[in-house]
């Protein structure tokens, strides 16, 4: 809700200023926006479909089973895979990680899970490629995965 207010508020202010200053440039802005939106639409639709599919299969209960205390050493790797693929909203990811931590999952596993779920996005890659290029996307996600393990390793030692 806050997000929507911020974005629409910002849009209203900018649009009014833009219209007062120049109708021509405002029109141009809409043309640019329309073109970009059309270009992005197919990948946007694909992304929400994939997000739906993964979240339908990977419910919080399933994730708990896969990366919880019983999952052992493999849990960290599994957490990285799940975190990388899915686009779990942080409002779900944090409480889930918190409860897993209390039920015996390791700090390292939870850190990998959170860092990969926010920094690495296989699902959103098609859209990232469209906007920023293949190389940028591969590097950002690949290095993000490595960084997630490094961060988790350090956190596991320190905490």
């Amino acid at each position: 809700m806050a997000t929507i207010i911020v974005i629409y508020g910002l849009l209203a202010v900018c649009l009014i200023i833009s219209l007062i200053k120049s109708k021509e440039k405002t029109k141009k802005a809409f043309r640019i926006a329309g073109k970009a939106l059309l270009k992005m639409t197919p990948s946007l639709l694909a992304i929400i479909g994939i997000v739906g599919l993964t979240l339908g299969v990977l419910t919080p209960e399933t994730i708990s089973k896969l990366v919880g205390a019983e999952a052992g050493v493999a849990a960290t790797a599994v957490a990285a895979v799940i975190g990388s693929i899915t686009l779990i909203p942080s409002l779900i990811a944090f409480p889930l990680a918190g409860s897993l931590l209390r039920s015996g999952a390791t700090i390292m596993t939870m850190s990998v899970f959170i860092t990969t779920s926010v920094m690495v996005g296989v699902v959103t890659a098609p859209m990232e490629i469209k906007a920023l290029g293949v190389k940028f996307t591969l590097l950002r996600n690949g290095l993000g995965l490595l960084a997630a393990f490094a961060i988790a390793g350090i956190m596991g030692v320190l905490l």
Binding site: A2, T3, V6, I7, L10, L11, C14, K25, T26, A29, F30, I32, A33, G34, A36, L37, M40, P42, S43, L44, A46, I47, I48, G49, I50, V51, G52, L53, L55, G56, V57, L87, S90, L91, F94, P95, A97, G98, L101, M110, S111, I114, V118, M119, G121, T124, P126, M127, A131, L132, G133, V134, K135, F136, L139, R140, L143, A147, M155, L159
Partner: protein
């Protein structure tokens, strides 16, 4: 027609995944459809204003300004601006991709865009407050510091690699 189909190839492929699911695992199919619908609603509300804002930025803000703020010579100040832009409370990561794309085209450096996207994804202020609540201040602050360091290193590395071979990025 064929061109349009080609454009929607991944979309159609994803839609087709729902068919066997609906037949053999109707429960999961139902749940997936509900989640998809939720995200669809969110996207329809958030994406149009974001793209219009991008359009306004492209038609009003001169490229040399963006270059000055976020480009090659912007140094630590550029990183700071990218970081602050990323932490603003403005929605999911897929919103940030077109923004970063536009900024990159207008002369922002790769390093800063990596920081911007990383901050957007991992270091949002409302998100951090939720994290503190569920995982504690120790976990959150350590993850915050390590992520900032990782992003700065990552950005430098990605920029260096893309610079060495710029043609292949498109």
């Amino acid at each position: 027609m064929i061109k349009a189909l080609k454009k929607f190839k991944i979309t159609i492929l994803v839609a087709l995944c729902f068919v066997p699911l609906a037949i053999w695992l109707p429960d999961i199919a139902k749940k997936s459809s509900l989640v998809t619908l939720d995200y669809f609603k969110e996207m329809i509300i958030i994406m149009p204003p974001v793209f219009i804002l991008m359009g306004l930025m492209e038609s009003w803000v001169p490229k040399d300004k963006i270059k000055k703020w976020l480009g090659d010579g912007s140094g630590i100040k550029g990183m700071g601006i990218s970081f602050l832009l990323g932490t603003l409370p403005t929605g999911p990561l897929y919103v940030a991709f077109p923004i970063a794309g536009t900024l990159l085209k207008s002369g922002a450096r790769v390093h800063n865009m990596v920081i911007f996207l990383g901050a957007w994804a991992a270091l949002k202020i409302p998100q951090l407050m939720v994290e503190v609540k569920f995982l504690g201040i120790g976990f959150t602050s350590l993850r915050f510091v390590l992520t900032v360091i990782a992003l700065i290193l990552e950005g430098a590395l990605i920029e260096a690699i893309i610079r060495r071979n710029p043609s292949k990025n498109k």
